[in-house]
């Protein structure tokens, strides 16, 4: 995953609220750029990158919590978290499968059925995770998460 996109011109003397609007805007842009890649390719790396972007957005909504109106921020935060969880449902089995892969070489023949028993279960979870991501992206569209984040940024206090 690339480093977070810089937020140009942040100044220690600028109001916390104005920084909040700018940081959340950049983090949301990152998320939607990654979402486009996920929709287009469904590639595991794109899933990973979008998950990281969703966590960064979530973190900035928490760091700058006091700058946004409570209820809309909580609703957006809940939905961003839901998106991150859905991406985790797809990504986490991949991480575990990657860790198990070397055991195909290093474990003996008698131990392979055990490795297979675990990898088969994880592969099934990974496949189910793709549908979870699709559903979460559709839900984000249906509830206009993109628009609600923009609205949240416009309503920043201070």
């Amino acid at each position: 995953m690339a480093a977070p996109r810089p937020v140009p011109g942040l100044d220690p003397e600028e109001p916390f609220g104005s920084a909040a609007a700018r940081v959340v805007t950049v983090r949301a842009d990152e998320l939607w750029t990654m979402a486009e890649r996920v929709r287009r390719t469904g590639d595991p790396e794109a899933i990973h990158d979008m998950r990281v972007a969703s966590r960064r957005l979530r973190a900035s909504l928490e760091v700058f919590a006091t700058c946004f109106p409570g209820q809309p921020r909580k609703a957006v935060l809940k939905d961003v978290k839901g998106l991150a969880d859905a991406l985790g449902a797809r990504r986490d089995p991949d991480v575990l499968l990657e860790a198990l892969a070397p055991l195909r070489e290093s474990f003996g023949r008698q131990d392979q059925p055990g490795v297979t028993a675990l990898t088969t279960a994880l592969e099934a979870e990974r496949d189910a995770g793709s549908s979870v991501v699709e559903a979460a992206l559709a839900e984000a569209d249906r509830t206009d998460l993109h628009g609600r984040i923009e609205e949240l940024v416009r309503s920043v206090k201070g």
Binding site: F16, T66, A99, L100, F107
Partner: protein, 177 residues
């Protein structure tokens, strides 16, 4: 683990002052959680510390341009700490997953042997038990190595006076890189 609330934040206050308060609070959380994670490295303790480290890192992602130069170094140190704690966490998950899978297959086999008491071959998952026990042992051992690396990384941060330097950097400007 719920994040500690940062007191006294206001939208109208300068970003630098707000960032200082947030960094100090998140850093204090890490300092509070680290002793337990270092002592026994129980899964809950290492997990809580990993989350706290991640929270501080995300704060620095958003605010390091307005902090002192050491904030950028701190971000990299936290990333390394988060990576090794992430490896501990992955091992915990894999040990648990292997044990759960073994218990599930064992239960299936018991049910099959009850249904076919004269046919030991009904326990068709029996060949997987040994490998699953090996997976569990393998990741328990890897966890021990990861915990060792975590302790080394933490002690290196202490020697570097990471916390004092980051506190100084959070006050803006101070804190050499």
């Amino acid at each position: 683990m719920k994040a500690k609330k940062v007191k006294g934040l206001k939208p109208s206050m300068p970003l630098g002052a707000a960032a200082e308060r947030i960094v100090q609070t998140r850093l204090a959380e890490i300092e509070q959680l680290a002793p337990a994670a270092l002592a026994d490295a129980e899964p809950g303790d290492t997990h809580d510390l990993r989350i706290a480290v991640k929270r501080l890192r995300y704060v620095l992602d958003a605010t390091s341009p307005v902090l002192g130069p050491y904030a950028e170094n701190a971000r990299k140190h936290l990333r390394r700490l988060q990576d090794v704690l992430g490896e501990v966490q992955d091992c915990d998950v894999l040990v648990a997953r292997a044990e759960t899978r073994q218990a599930e297959l064992h239960a299936h086999d018991i049910a099959a042997m009850i249904a076919h008491p004269k046919d030991p071959a009904a326990a068709r998952h029996r060949t997987a038990y040994r490998g699953l026990a090996m997976v569990s042992a393998h990741f328990a051992a890897r966890r021990a190595f990861a915990v060792r690396r975590f302790r080394r990384a933490w002690h290196a941060l202490e020697r570097e006076e990471f916390a004092a330097k980051l506190r100084a950097a959070s006050r803006g400007g101070a804190g050499a890189a």
